[in-house]
Symmetry: C2
Subunit: 208 residues, 2 copies
Amino acid sequence: MAKGTLSSSGSLSAKAPEERRERILRATVDVVRTRGFAGARVSDIAEAAGTSQGLVLYHFRSLAGALDAALTLLEDEFYDDLARDLQEQVGPVERLRHMADLGAGQGPAVGDWRLWLELWVRALHDPDARETRESLDRRWRAALREVIAEGVASADFDPLDPDGAAIRLASLMDGLAIQLALDDPDMTTQRLADLWWDAAVLELRMQP
Amino acid sequence: MAKGTLSSSGSLSAKAPEERRERILRATVDVVRTRGFAGARVSDIAEAAGTSQGLVLYHFRSLAGALDAALTLLEDEFYDDLARDLQEQVGPVERLRHMADLGAGQGPAVGDWRLWLELWVRALHDPDARETRESLDRRWRAALREVIAEGVASADFDPLDPDGAAIRLASLMDGLAIQLALDDPDMTTQRLADLWWDAAVLELRMQP
DNA sequence: GCACGTGCTGAACGCTCATTCAGATAGCCT
DNA sequence: AGGCTATCTGAATGAGCGTTCAGCACGTGC
């Protein structure tokens, strides 16, 4: 059992405690994705991260702490996803089109609807989660409103009720996504995107 | 300690075992409503029903059994709610209008969106719940399709895409309901009903 | 009047799981 | 070299909770 190259045997603490923490955080998100908030155990997280249970509690103060951290990680990634994806597009029509695809499951955070479902239910009972989801939802709706306003300015859109259209389109995405998240046989990512896009055409009175 | 009038002291077992069972079932639904499926404890149910924990397990075989029973109770009530409410109305426009109000929180089962959220997440991990929610959703969508078909026949509606409209309107209701269930400051029952109705007007191209 | 089954209770059992803790290891400063 | 601290581990602890169980009450059939 030689000392090895650089990082040693036994506990591979050598360096990268931060990298370790990161790995645990990712693992936490994964576990929530598969087991749900309610089903997430410290041992699950430890196993998924390839560490001991002790370390999970060492980096985050408790299981709840780890779950909260995962929540804010999600929030950050959502913002990044959204911002990056929308800035790549040029006109309002293209942006809107891209939002349809975004909802249908691109991006690491935005399209992960199982995670959203979990967040919603957690928000039902946990004030922290409630705030996170409200902030996320505001953000998403604001982005939609912006795109709509942009399209109205450029005469691409002509909605009867811009605010109502924004809320409805945002909510419609949520509702369609539920079926997707639950593997409803009648729903696919393509169908979701199409159904949503058609609704947008109708709501915003777009001309083909 | 006289024998009392009829039902005796101690355990009030006298009669009505069936009534007792019913009370426990109601209590289970209540607990799920407030604590969620994941947070429901046998002791919560017993307390809410005013019985011992033992009795809960006596009538249903396990906690899971009680939760399952609550689920099917919900399913039955949903069907009853829906059928009764729709048969009271005459024309397609009135029926549709009523569906908007239904979603906005009438009826003991249909409008209870917190319960729906809970069901959705349970469906994510429990096959029984998955089947229940799928059946419920099919039913709701079928009712919507029927009303739409009726309205097309009577020339009250003129949708471009009847099937798409049905799915979208059903999904929109779910999406709006999420905000209502989560006490989003921007959503009220009235607003939900209005937003949904406006969408229906648009989708079905109704004339005022 | 007496056994018996059903309804019901409260205490006890045992398991799962978050959290604590007593170290082990390794870099770092002096 | 020799502490000191940060990182990490595996086992121990203990609380919470579902489930089991021994037994009480009471109506029913013999």
